[in-house]
Symmetry: C2
Subunit: 410 residues, 2 copies
């Protein structure tokens, strides 16, 4: 196995060859899932004024220190009121106030509505039934955020929470990392499109749709380049078109057969091949190269292999392109529910199902008849990683897991 590249080294080469795309401007409602490409500082204080946190009455806390008391209600302040328009609060008075409304000058606390009672016969007064501490139920200006505070940094992932921060700072548009363009090309004379019935000896193209779905889920804009035959000229034409994308993903044509033309055609088109064989199971004959800023991943034709190669190598490359500061995917630790065996020499990535049970993450490796068994890619939520030097692991052993990109949705 001396000619097989270890998985870590191959991933290092893939990431070194991958270029971060130029940042671009996106409207806020299209920024979710992207990587922020600028630092964000607060453009104002939050709150920008002393603000009530509850519905109730703005009061002077000292007025209520010696027990229940009737207060005259002198104004009503709604959310959105101009703080400059408010009357100062005199001792013995209160202002009806809503959540989010500005606190009037002189008031130093808010009595919640549940701690007040109506005064019979006087609709302009209330009876306070509890005391309040100074500062209670209100937020002073700049309590949450001070103008100029750094709220987000370039490289942050933009989820819904970050959308809120950007919105609060008035960012209708935002600088984000580029969105990778991916071309997917299946190769092989035996393939027919999904919509056709395969003639004798032929099979449907499953890798194209699977790789397209994976790339799309990873945030890429995908072009399906269809099926290329095992003829050099036609293959070269299709690959040349695919090299206009940021990442061309090929499947098939990378084994040792006389019709495995992918490597030859890639070289003829000026693609620098960086490696062709990786110590991974499944997926050993993974061909990887680059031309200019475009990278090319030539996956094996077996569906399980190409699925694994995408998750292990190409998904991190897409993260790097999009500006993610940590392109490598974190692994998590689970516990095997049954034994697993392999021939040592290659790192195994096996389809598995992980589930939490009584605080432990239990991992069941899914049965398969081999790397051609497309049905084994369904229903998994992790890839269980068996180190290259392991021949077997037992039930109860810890095992590292790569979370599949849809593990949280299943």
């Amino acid at each position: 196995m001396a000619d097989l590249l270890p998985v870590d080294r191959a991933l290092e080469i893939v990431l070194q060859a991958t270029t971060v795309l130029p940042a671009e401007s996106a409207p806020l409602d299209a920024a979710t899932g992207r990587i922020l490409a600028e630092d964000l500082r607060a453009d104002r204080d939050h709150p920008a004024f002393d603000k009530s946190l509850m519905d109730g009455y703005a009061v002077i806390a000292g007025d209520l220190a010696s027990g229940p008391r009737t207060l005259k209600v002198v104004q009503e302040i709604v959310a959105g009121a101009d703080p400059a328009s408010l009357l100062p609060l005199a001792p013995g008075t209160a202002a009806r106030i809503m959540t989010g409304a500005p606190v009037p000058p002189g008031a130093d606390a808010v009595l919640i509505v549940e701690q007040s009672e109506a005064v019979p016969g006087d609709s302009r007064a209330i009876r306070a039934t509890a005391a309040v501490r100074p500062g209670e139920n209100l937020a002073r200006r700049a309590t949450d955020v001070r103008e100029g505070d750094m709220l987000l940094a370039a490289g942050d992932f933009i989820g819904a929470g970050e959308i809120g921060v950007l919105a609060a700072c008035g960012r209708g548009r935002v600088r984000v990392g580029g969105r990778p363009k991916v071309g997917v090309l299946a190769t092989g004379d035996e393939l027919v499109p999904v919509g056709e019935s395969p003639g004798p000896g032929r099979i449907r193209n499953t890798n194209g749709p699977v790789l397209a779905a994976l790339a799309e889920r990873a945030g890429a804009k995908v072009t399906d380049l269809g099926i290329a035959p095992d003829r050099e000229s036609a293959l070269a034409e299709a690959i040349e078109a695919g090299l206009r994308t940021d990442m061309l993903v090929l499947s098939g044509g990378v084994s040792m057969g006389v019709h495995d033309l992918v490597g030859k055609v890639l070289r003829s088109l000026g693609v620098e091949i960086l490696f062709e064989r990786v110590a991974i199971k499944p997926g050993k004959p993974f061909t990887f190269g680059r031309r200019g800023a475009a990278i090319v991943g030539g996956c094996p034709g077996n569906p399980v292999s190409s699925y694994v190669i995408f998750q292990v190598f190409l998904r991190p490359a897409l993260r790097k392109m999009a500006g993610h500061p940590v392109p490598r995917l974190a692994t998590v630790r689970g516990t095997l529910t049954g034994p697993v065996r392999q021939r040592p020499g290659r790192t195994g990535f096996y389809q598995a199902r992980a589930r939490w049970d009584a605080g432990r993450l239990l991992v069941e490796i899914l049965p398969t008849s081999g790397s051609a068994d497309f049905s084994a890619c369904a229903r998994g939520n992790v890839l269980a990683i068996v180190p290259a030097d392991s021949a077997s692991l037992s039930a109860g052993d810890p095992i590292d897991l790569l979370l599949l990109d849809d593990s949280a949705d299943r």
Copy 2:
């Protein structure tokens, strides 16, 4: 707290009131992330013929049993060849064969190309340098899948692996659960759109963009209904428009202020209010109702509250609408890195960051100045759940976690 509904009971009511949307037909390339609404049986055997798993030579295993031997190469079989066109293999002969190509009659194994040598002076012969077992390196017809096998079931999540199974079965279109339509409406006179500079006493609408991003990430088709003022007629008009969706999400106007009109207006429009206060922190004044098949979630105006309400109640409701058989989100178990305190009585859902370290999932609760602190929603990847009857937890204590919908992408 007798009038506060426990979180589990509130979620039960939400899910009971939520209708599963009718299934629909989707093209395969738009089916990722949806829920399958039909059982899928294999339309043919896989492989559909005895198939080579490697590049090499189809041979008769018995020919090689007694040591290295020269074999005459009588045909070359490429992937895609018609099995009926193949010549039967005679003893002492071999057929050059590619991965995926049909195995000729008479052959019972494939010798990999690496275990063969050229014969000097005879391009039509090879020397086999190793023995093979009968059946080695080939897959008999129907090894992976037999025609009629049930491969996927209604209710299965469609990830990239399932796309491959559907493609292999020729499903260019597929029945999937409906895609929920969600309307998002922020309410409050104090709100200005993100693109505007807030005047004195006013704030930008952050909840609208956040709730829209959350709903979209959960698979919904979102209509942003903008901002409604605190006036009954205008609010009623905007809500009526929103009730044409499957789920109307409101923010603001559900506290106890005189301008908190949402409950009143909902009732006036014939919405049945199922509850108005939940024992949850943050998010207590969560109003939930339904009219016909539409459900309405009235979230508090505080950004952290509406974020939490969406994750805890509305995301499971969207999963149910879309046909997910397990709408409730699974929780996972982590270990606290520091203490947490709360006033007992309400279940706490706190923004937190979980990371794997030496096989343990460590959970750090993010600091916040309160439920108005929008910046606290950023950078988290889980909500840490503190039971309603807990006043405090310590570093090292186990804690249940709700994974946020983007936890795998961060």
